[in-house]
Structures are given as structure tokens and as C-alpha cells.
């Protein structure tokens, strides 16, 4: 199977779908790049991170649309186009910018179907970049998917690897509901085996990335990779740790979480978001309500602290829930006795 990066997997998914379906358009700031430039206007960027590279060249600027820096207009245009027959992929360059356009996402796109009495179909895919790890500072490094996940009417993808990125992106594009696809900036260069042919991954189906019987670790996006490392490390200490990768936070595969916890009796939830009202909190609360009897230990949350993301790479490394922190929490949970 070809080995490609997370970045390439997303790019491939979009390109393959655009070949199949002429209704798909891509829009955002510099998704092509170079428009109006003195060098002649050829594609110059393919996205600030190169994720849409080549799409403008292959599909033309009518389908790969450079926009002004006006995120409300971009998100709204995507939503309005989706409502009227296109299948737009709209890019919100950094998820941190959601504050200037959240209304068009949460009050408009996400609510159309419900508030219009079930008559609207809004096949909008919003691609956005989340997370820390690049030293990009407080306004370019946040993991804001908890807000998105809480919005009724939105679906949220948080792929942790190239294979999932491709399959979830194709599903997102084909899905008839608005989907926010969260690409983690620290994963863009991650390599993995990815089938060349298009495939989809169902939303709301978690993946078990490590099987185990002593402890469940639930996570998503970048953090899954640290959880896997933690599980492997603990395996050498003869702890059998199961890692559940949610893949999508909305819909959330509650069954997979509950099933695993019912088996292991112990749970650590790992989330890069700030702690309060995080996915870690949500998942913990689901288990505390629905698998309480199975629990042998307190549910530990490993999250970022309740602070902005500091610019200093040293502080940022301390901010991120890393393998060491996960191992420590896991060990504590494993060793807990009532």
C-alpha cells in the first residue's frame, strides 16, 4: 500500500472527490494563491500548509477559489452555496479564527435543517487546522473542537493518522450535513499506509488502536499517537492498555467507549483542549453516568491546562498533554485501589 503523509491523504481525498463530482468547489484564503500577482497568477500556494496544492491547477480557479480574508463571508458563502446545490469545501485556515465567523457556522449552517423544518440539506465541509506544536502562539494553536462538538447540527472529524484523514474527508464531502474537519498541524507530515482508491470511514465509529484489558484510554486527533506510545510503554510493564481513537467527536461513538470501559473498569481521557467543558469532560461524564458500575477507579482527565497556548516552545511543550503525562495518569489509575 502506498505510504503518504496526512497532508497528502487529505489532498488526495479532495482531488479524487472533485474528479467524481463537479458540484464540489474549494474556497478559502490562498487555497490556490497567486491571484492577481505580478508573476502571472498561477497557483502559488495550495493553502498555507500546501494541503490544497495542485487542485487549482487541475480543476481551475472557478472550482478552487481564492477569497479575501473575510472568514464570515467565506463560511457564509459556503453555507449558502451548500444550501442551493453545491458541495463546497470551505477552509478556515486556523481554527483559532473561528471567533470572526462562528455565527455563520453555528447559528446558520448548523441550524438550517432544524429551524427550516427539515427541508434544508447543507452539504458543507469546513476544513480547519487545530492544535499546538508549531510554536505559533496563543492565537494560532488552539484545540477548539469541544465548542464545535457541542453544536447540534454540526459533525466534527478529528483524524489522528493519514488513513483516517482520507476516509473521513471523503465521508465529510459526501455527507449531507455540515461537517467540520479538524486537521492537526502537528500531524501534517505524519506518514502512513493509505489505499490509492477512494474509501469512506463512517462517522461515529471509533477505532481501537491498541487492545487491552486493564485500562481504557480514550482520545482523538494528535493525542492518540501519544496514547499509543503510552500504551506501548505500559505494555513493557505488563499493563494491558486499550486505546480508543474517537475519529469523530460528533457523532461520538459512545458504545465503543462504554464497551471498552465495561471490559477494563478503568478510564483515562486524553484531550489537547483546555480542560473545562472539554471532550475529556464529556467522555468522562458519559462513563460516570452509563458505565458507573463497571468503574474500579476514578476517571482521570489529561488535558492542556486552563491557560492560553504560550508562544515559547519550551512552555508549549509543557502545555501539551504528552506521553509522559499520559503514562503517569494511566499508572495512577491502574494502581488505584478503593
Amino acid at each position: 500500500m502506498p505510504v503518504i503523509t496526512y497532508r497528502e491523504a487529505i489532498n488526495q481525498a479532495m482531488a479524487q472527490e472533485m474528479r467524481r463530482d463537479p458540484l464540489i468547489v474549494v474556497m478559502g484564503e490562498d487555497v490556490a494563491g497567486g491571484a492577481g500577482g505580478s508573476a502571472g497568477g498561477a497557483e502559488a500556494a495550495g493553502g498555507v500548509m500546501g494541503i490544497t496544492a495542485g487542485l487549482a491547477t487541475e480543476f481551475g480557479r472557478d472550482r478552487v477559489i481564492d477569497t479575501p480574508i473575510t472568514e464570515s463571508a467565506i463560511m457564509g458563502m459556503g453555507a449558502g452555496a451548500a444550501l442551493t446545490g453545491l458541495r463546497p469545501i470551505a477552509e478556515l485556515m486556523f481554527a483559532d479564527f473561528i471567533g470572526v465567523c462562528f455565527d455563520q457556522i453555528y447559528n446558520q449552517a448548523a441550524k438550517f435543517r432544524y429551524m427550516f423544518g427539515g427541508k434544508a440539506v447543507t452539504p458543507l465541509t469546513i476544513r480547519t487546522m487545530i492544535g499546538a506544536g508549531m510554536g505559533a502562539g496563543p492565537q494560532h494553536s488552539q484545540a477548539i473542537y469541544p465548542w464545535l462538538t457541542s453544536v447540534p447540527g454540526l459533525k466534527v472529524c478529528v483524524p489522528s493518522n493519514p488513513y483516517d484523514a482520507k476516509g473521513l474527508m471523503i465521508q465529510a464531502i459526501r455527507d449531507d450535513d455540515p461537517v467540520i474537519f479538524c486537521e492537526h498541524k502537528s500531524l501534517l507530515g505524519m506518514e502512513g499506509e493509505v489505499p490509492e482508491d477512494p474509501y469512506t470511514i463512517d462517522f461515529g465509529k471509533a477505532a481501537i488502536t491498541r487492545e487491552g484489558t486493564d485500562l481504557t484510554i480514550v482520545s482523538m486527533s494528535w493525542m492518540v499517537n501519544f496514547c499509543n506510545e503510552a500504551a506501548d510503554q505500559l505494555a513493557s510493564e505488563d499493563f494491558s492498555v486499550e486505546v480508543v481513537d474517537m475519529r469523530t467527536t460528533s457523532p461520538l461513538d459512545r458504545e465503543a467507549i462504554l464497551k471498552s470501559v465495561r471490559k477494563t473498569g478503568r478510564l483515562v481521557v486524553v484531550d489537547e483542549a483546555n480542560p473545562i467543558c472539554s471532550m475529556a469532560s464529556e467522555i468522562s461524564s458519559i462513563v460516570a453516568e452509563h458505565a458507573f458500575a463497571a468503574l474500579d477507579a476514578p476517571i482521570k482527565k489529561v488535558t492542556a491546562p486552563h491557560t492560553p497556548v504560550p508562544a515559547s516552545p519550551k512552555l508549549e511543550a509543557l502545555y501539551i498533554p504528552d506521553t509522559a503525562k499520559i503514562v503517569a495518569a494511566a499508572r495512577e489509575t491502574l494502581e488505584y485501589e478503593l
Binding site: 479575501p68 458563502m77 453555507a79 444550501l83 434544508a120
Partner: protein
């Protein structure tokens, strides 16, 4: 350009329907039969109808505001379905889940009233992008109040429409007030000048003159359909009621309130003009008035008699599919 008899009758019927719809709702709301807030369009009928008479249901879209009933009726949305929706009944256009500020009818090209001031223009440019991409020849019209004109979303949408050369007509309705604050205070400079500053043609007309709106809209829409890009119209508008049904309007002088109804009633102006020019006669318009009243009576009676949504409806249609 001279309108045909049929066109005149159609326009009159729509304007009269809006007027009666709103006046009746005002009465019903005061009685307490209508939930939520109601923002009435009375006085501004000429604007919605003047522009929507140029639009088709299939390919053309409008994006509306909290004051959306008139836009809906002008665009051909079913009056009974609207009334039932405002009464939040299961027979309403949105099954009672949207209410007055969210009436939508995508089949008629009506992208929804919008309870967020400035919410619709970004959506409207999206509909225009669809028209441009699929080459339908369609246009999209966002309606924008003088207060909404200040929202960043409106500025962004104007710029985007110009950059992408989208078939949009930005229809500004300057009724002098945003809630209880005058446009002369809150909307600096000139809306027309703002639109022009983005490089699009813009014009200001009197919204109580159906014919002026109709003519300005004709040009702007023709331009958009021809692929020549967006334009803007600012219409001076006259809000007969307060911001919402029940607003005591202490911020408006008695003289202004009287003059709005006496000097700026688009229906009176229309009737005067068409009878003086002997295009229509009073009798045929009176007949329309009577028909409209019957329709509104029926709409209210049916809405009141209609069933409430059921508990199950609370949970449906959040998603198309949610495995």
C-alpha cells in the same frame, strides 16, 4: 419601462397581501395569540415586491432579515404556511420550529428570515456562487436594513461579491431606524457610497415608490444575470409600526409617525399613480383587497386550528443522518 396590466395586478396583490398579513398579525400579537417577537413590514412593501417581481422561483434566491414576512410573500412563499409557522404550528413551513424570524422556503428560493442582523448577506453570496458555478442565470438578493448595513458581514459580502463578480443585488432598506436608534446617528456616511467604494454601481431611490424600485431593480438584476457582477440599491423606507409589534415608539415624533402613513404609503401612491394613468381602476383593486382579506382570515383561522408539533418533533431534523 411600462408594466403590463397583469404585472401591475400581480404587484398590487402582493403588496396588499403583505400589508394585510402584517396588520392582522399586529392585531393577533396584541391579543397574545402569537408567540415570540414579531417585526412588521408594513410600509416597506414596495421594496420587497418591486425587486421580487423580477425574480423566478427556480433560479433566484433572496436572503432575508428578522423583518422577513414581506420578503417571503413577495418571493411567492405560501401565505397560509407562513401564518401557521408564525403561530408555530406543525402545519407551518418549518413545522413550528423556526417561527417568524426563521421562515424559509428553499423551493421558492427563499433562504430564510434571519434573526441575526447581518446574517443573510454571506449566505446570499453563496447562492450567487451556486448560480455562477452552475450557470443557471440566477441572481441572489440579500435584504439589509440601515442598522444591518453596519455589520461587518455586510462589508465582507460586498467585497466578496465584487472580487468573485457574483450575480448579487444588495438591497438596502433604510427605514431610518434600527430598533430605537436612528440611522442618522448610527449609520455613518452613506450606504450608497459604501457600496460604490467596493467598485459596484449603486443608486438611492424612494422605497414608497413601487415603480422606482421596480426600475432600479430591473437594471441591477439584468446586470447580474448578464454576468456583469453585483450592484446595490438603497431604498428609503417607511416603517409604519415600531421595531416590533407593541413598541410604543417614544423615539419618533407624532409628526413623523403621521407623515409616514400619510405621505409614504406605497399602496396609496401606487393606486393614485395607476388610476391617474388609467392603467387599473379602483374597482379591480378593491376586489383584490377583498380577496386578500379573505385569504388572511382563512390563514389565521387555519393556523389557529392547526395542531401543535408533537414531542417527537423536538428531536427530528437536527441532522440528515447521524449514525
Amino acid at each position: 419601462m411600462q408594466l403590463s396590466r397583469d404585472e401591475l395586478l400581480s404587484a398590487y396583490t402582493k403588496m396588499r397581501t403583505i400589508r394585510e398579513f402584517e396588520e392582522r398579525l399586529n392585531v393577533e400579537f396584541q391579543k397574545g395569540t402569537v408567540p415570540g417577537f414579531i417585526h412588521l413590514y408594513s410600509g416597506q412593501e414596495g421594496i420587497a415586491v418591486g425587486i421580487c417581481e423580477h425574480l423566478s422561483e427556480d433560479i433566484d434566491y433572496i436572503g432575508s432579515t428578522h423583518r422577513g414576512h414581506g420578503h417571503c410573500i413577495a418571493k411567492g412563499v405560501d401565505v397560509k404556511g407562513m401564518m401557521a409557522e408564525i403561530f408555530t404550528k406543525s402545519t407551518g413551513l418549518c413545522g413550528g420550529k423556526g417561527g417568524s424570524m426563521h421562515i424559509a422556503d428553499l423551493d421558492k428560493g427563499m433562504l430564510g428570515a434571519n434573526a441575526i442582523v447581518g446574517g443573510a448577506p454571506p449566505l446570499a453570496i453563496g447562492a450567487a456562487l451556486t448560480a455562477k458555478t452552475l450557470k443557471t442565470g440566477g441572481v441572489a438578493i440579500p435584504f439589509i436594513g440601515d442598522g444591518a448595513a453596519n455589520q461587518g458581514t455586510v462589508a465582507e459580502s460586498m467585497n466578496m461579491a465584487c472580487v468573485l463578480n457574483l450575480p448579487v443585488v444588495f438591497m438596502f432598506e433604510n427605514n431610518g431606524y434600527a430598533e430605537f436608534t436612528a440611522a442618522s446617528y448610527a449609520t455613518a456616511g452613506s450606504i450608497e457610497a459604501r457600496a460604490k467604494a467596493y467598485g459596484m454601481p449603486a443608486t438611492t431611490i424612494a422605497g414608497d415608490d413601487f415603480f422606482a424600485v421596480h426600475e432600479a431593480a430591473r437594471e441591477a438584476i439584468a446586470r447580474a444575470r448578464a454576468g456583469e457582477g453585483p450592484s446595490a440599491i438603497e431604498a428609503t423606507a417607511y416603517r409604519f409600526h415600531g421595531h416590533f409589534s407593541g413598541d410604543p415608539q417614544v423615539y419618533r415624533s407624532a409628526e413623523e409617525l403621521a407623515s409616514v402613513r400619510e405621505d409614504h404609503d406605497v399602496l396609496k401612491n401606487f393606486r393614485k399613480r395607476v388610476t391617474e394613468a388609467a392603467l387599473l381602476d379602483d374597482a379591480e383593486m378593491d376586489a383584490i383587497d377583498a380577496e386578500v382579506l379573505t385569504l388572511i382570515d382563512e390563514a389565521v383561522a387555519e393556523a389557529m386550528a392547526a395542531p401543535e408539533p408533537t414531542e417527537a418533533d423536538l428531536y427530528t431534523d437536527v441532522y440528515n443522518t447521524y449514525q
